[in-house]
Symmetry: C2
Subunit: 368 residues, 2 copies
């Protein structure tokens, strides 16, 4: 019925009602992904948990046509489709309990996006909260991190904007199909995100905006990241769902505190009481993620010894190349790197932030 | 030379340069407190750590006269002197590593003051910080806690005021002798504190205001309390010294978070990162102190099973007396207690705050 695992995954996703758990059972039964569609109806019905409605969807005679039309529509809109069967599926996301079978993507994912942090929070955020989101996102971008969020109003938008302001990379995960942007007033922002990262969704192109899908969307936000920072969240904020996903996925959970007399921060304070790391500055995030960041595999499956190196500017690479375990003064670094003094100071600071360089007493530097 | 241990302690404190460690060595050498002054000069000199200057002070021929004059001066000013040899020395304070040998006191200490929490923070506090200090102090007072602080400007003053506003008890620990009030603009506040608790100091009556004594003063603030709440503190605030004393004394450390872009809260956030409990409401404090509060001995040395009972109002005692392990509705409680509906609701809430009563489903209540 389908010639490739890739098309079979698009079909499974399009038919709906099959998440990763059922997919694994179906594949185990069929022997391979594409063989799922060769299973007789009785074979499908006997798979534990697969409802009659799902069996109907998987055996619908028009499914191959719909897959073909979906691929055409995606191509027409300039979308890429990445399935779990593809080498460039994000490996951090692939490692969660129930990764999306398919990602629709506008823009591109780079290997360096494996070094990502999600920033999430309230849609009705305070000035203070949005300011912190913007500041942290900019600092994370400076330190070479990709900022993941959900393109929602408030904290999400401020986070994407902060990363963009710093010429960094950012990824927006939507809860609807990519034929539209939600919320609609963020169309211009979405275009900027696409130019410096990607807007993506697990839903078929024309999938409508359904609020009930947003909580599950959040598992992709956290799944793409090494850690989740909740910037501002009341007691019932959806950002807390993202934090819970993060904890279940073994990702770090961070929260920014705020005034205790504003209900908008009660969720953040709850997280901190429950063990989330309190964040004042980007250093608080880097201090936790340093060790994690070291062992992230690239989407190609190779383990990069230190993926922070992937995100280095030319100046950073130059300065790093003249440093080793011997302590050197700023002047020595300037002489060896052949860069202007001001550039070297800025670059050394940025390398310190990335924990690639350590400053010793007397303003001397070594590689960490 | 002195007829009582009490006078000997006043003399040791007046002569100066002898803290609790040296006092213990001297007493061990002499056999009793008052016998310290019967030791020959060579005996004193051979005590490890006792400097020549201290030996000189202890053997000064005018010391007995000075003790007599000090007692007269204290009496003239309406001060009480409580020494470590007295039964009414606060037992929580007596249990720290280096309790003051002598406390000078204006006002009075009650057994219920063993149930105390210290609130400390920045002298140059924000409106937000002072508001939280006042609110927490009022809530602690409502819950039957005595509020301890240092009478300083800012958070200290707001804490005393919050306790007083709620008709609660409060204790101010000064870093100078009680012939004066420091800072002078808090004279009126000090008078109110005296009426609802005590102003106290370890220093002789006429001891001057010396900033260098303030850090050690803070050990008394924490030593009198089951826990210390740092309400607002920058990175170098003296309140952090109080928090460190508290940790060393085995007392709970709490901190109120605030905006991360104001340096005035960096100290609080540091404490939370290091393990202090984040405080939004009085419940956060009670949740930690509940178990501790149960085992506080009274200053008389007897272990009160639940000292929260000491601080109960008449209404609270009445309501508590009609509750047991059987769940009762508000109406039943009203009927049994013979109190007006509004009073019973308020009293039940206050008993819940004190963790003496638990509310079950359907607004029914049992003793905890």
């Amino acid at each position: 019925m389908f010639e490739s695992d890739r098309d079979a995954l698009i079909a499974l996703n399009l038919a709906g009602m099959v998440g990763h758990v059922l997919f694994r059972r179906l594949r185990a039964r069929a022997g391979s992904t594409r063989a799922i569609f060769a299973l007789p109806e009785e074979g499908l019905s006997s798979v534990e948990g697969l409802r009659a409605k799902a069996v109907e969807g998987l055996t619908a005679p028009d499914l191959p046509d719909r897959v073909a039309r979906e691929k055409e529509e995606a191509a027409r809109l300039g979308l890429r489709i990445i399935t779990l069967a593809d080498a460039d599926y994000p490996s951090l996301l692939a490692s969660i309990f129930d990764p999306p079978l398919v990602l629709y993507l506008r823009g591109e994912l780079l290997p360096a996006d494996g070094l990502a942090v999600a920033l999430v929070g309230s849609r009705r955020a305070s000035y203070y909260g949005e300011k912190q989101a913007r500041r942290l996102a900019s600092s994370l971008a400076h330190a070479g991190f990709t900022v993941v969020s959900g393109l929602a109003r408030g904290i999400d938008a401020a986070s994407h904007e902060g990363a963009l302001d710093a010429d960094g990379r950012t990824i927006a995960v939507l809860g609807c199909g990519l034929s539209q942007v939600y919320p609609p007033e963020h169309e211009a922002l979405a275009r900027r995100v696409v130019e410096h990262g990607a807007v993506l969704s697990e839903h078929p192109v024309g999938f409508p905006v359904l609020a009930e899908n947003f909580p599950r969307r959040n598992r992709i936000v956290s799944g793409l990241a090494l850690g989740v920072v909740v910037v501002e969240a009341g007691r019932a904020s959806g950002a807390l769902i993202t934090a819970r996903w993060a904890a279940e996925q073994g990702r770090e959970v961070f929260a920014v505190p705020g005034p205790v007399d504003r209900p908008g921060f009660a969720g953040c304070h709850r997280l901190i009481k429950d063990g989330a790391k309190l964040v004042e500055n980007v250093e608080d995030i880097l201090a936790e993620l340093g060790p994690l960041a070291r062992s992230v595999p690239t989407p190609q499956g190779e383990i990069v010894q230190d993926p922070r190196l992937l995100a280095l500017s030319e100046g950073e690479q130059r300065v790093l190349s003249v440093l080793d375990s011997e302590a050197r003064s700023v002047d020595e670094v300037i002489g060896r790197a052949g860069l202007p003094t001001s550039a070297v100071s800025a670059v050394l600071f940025s390398l310190e932030l990335k924990h690639l360089v350590v400053q010793l007493a007397g303003k001397r530097f070594v590689r960490s």
